[in-house]
């Protein structure tokens, strides 16, 4: 039913999309999907999952930290400020740390504000990692802030964040 066309534009689903839904669609992560028959928008399929929001992100951050204070320090996110497609955004997180038994990074947690879920990943590190730096690629469904929180062996939490602009892709796929 969705072999119906869309146009040369970011949204593969065709109905009016809210700004944050736009690149959700580009990601194929639309919560609402409007199927077009000609120019007649007919079907709306809601998806029950609540989207991540700054509030939802704050809530999961609290789960991770147990409510402990988080100091903005020592954590650096290397992520392109502007990406052409949110489906695979390269991200490197590094934490200034001697990585000794006495003082090392135990975990790095990454969160986002606008994907369907606030969690991105949780990594466990040890002194033998030598360097508290990890790289991966993540999906971002819209321009948003990405937050990394490091849990230190001292029990302290430190954080860093970065804003990423996801440009709207132009021509996307026939979903059929």
């Amino acid at each position: 039913m969705s072999g119906n066309g869309t146009s040369c534009h970011p949204e593969r689903s065709e109905g009016p999309l809210k700004p944050q839904e736009r690149s959700l669609a580009a990601l194929g992560m639309t919560r609402r999907r409007t199927v077009l028959s000609g120019a007649l928008a007919i079907t709306v399929v809601p998806l029950s999952t609540a989207s991540a929001t700054p509030d939802a992100m704050a809530a999961v951050v609290k789960e991770v930290t147990g409510g402990a204070a988080v100091r903005e320090a020592r954590v650096k996110l290397d992520i392109p400020p502007l990406v052409e497609n949110g489906n695979a955004v390269p991200l490197t997180v590094s934490v200034e740390s001697p990585m000794t038994e006495a003082d090392h990074v135990k975990a790095i947690h990454v969160f986002n504000e606008k994907n369907p879920q606030p969690h991105v990943f949780d990594a466990r590190l040890r002194p033998l990692n030598g360097k508290a730096e990890i790289a991966t690629r993540i999906k971002l469904n819209d321009s948003q802030r990405v937050l990394a929180i490091a849990e230190l062996s001292t029990g302290e939490f430190v954080s860093g964040s970065a804003d990423v602009i996801v440009t709207l892709a132009a021509c996307v796929e026939d979903p059929s």
Binding site: G5, P19, L40, L168
Partner: protein
């Protein structure tokens, strides 16, 4: 003229499911002086159509004074000041069928179905915008004064 208006009403009621047996509008010089839909165009709705990248598609190619839409195209002139540069009648024809003014235009024909090749099945015989949507967009564009 009344017949054209009547047809436009009918088309409006059918959404965009236009099978344009007859042109529901009359071109006079470089414009379409009379509205092609029964209901007056609404500038607020028109702005929403222009801003919507899957309905109006306008901002894919044009930029416009719609600051909340971050990524706007630059293949075509800015829509800012469109209402100063062109009359309502001229704007209407440019949207309905810009090729009537410039055969080489890259502007898609928003309210024409004939003379198109290889149209995908779901769109055959259908216009990009409905008559009412055209009027809403025109109503919005005339408000864009320099």
């Amino acid at each position: 003229m009344r017949g054209a208006r009547f047809l436009a009403v009918l088309l409006g009621a059918l959404g965009a499911a236009t099978t344009a047996h007859a042109e529901p509008y009359v071109v006079v010089q470089d414009g379409i002086p009379k509205p092609i839909a029964a209901e007056r165009g609404d500038p607020g709705r028109g702005r929403a159509i222009v801003a919507n990248r899957s309905v109006g598609l306008c901002l894919l190619c044009h930029s416009g004074p719609i600051p909340e839409e971050r990524f706007q195209g630059n293949l075509a002139p800015s829509l800012a000041g469109a209402g100063s540069r062109s009359s309502e009648s001229q704007l209407r024809l440019r949207i309905v069928d810009a090729a009537r003014i410039n055969p080489d235009t890259i502007m898609p024909p928003y309210f024409r179905t004939d003379g198109l090749r290889n149209v995908a099945q779901p769109f055959v015989g259908k216009t990009i915008l409905t008559a009412q949507q055209v009027e809403d967009v025109v109503a919005y564009l005339v408000t864009l004064k320099d």
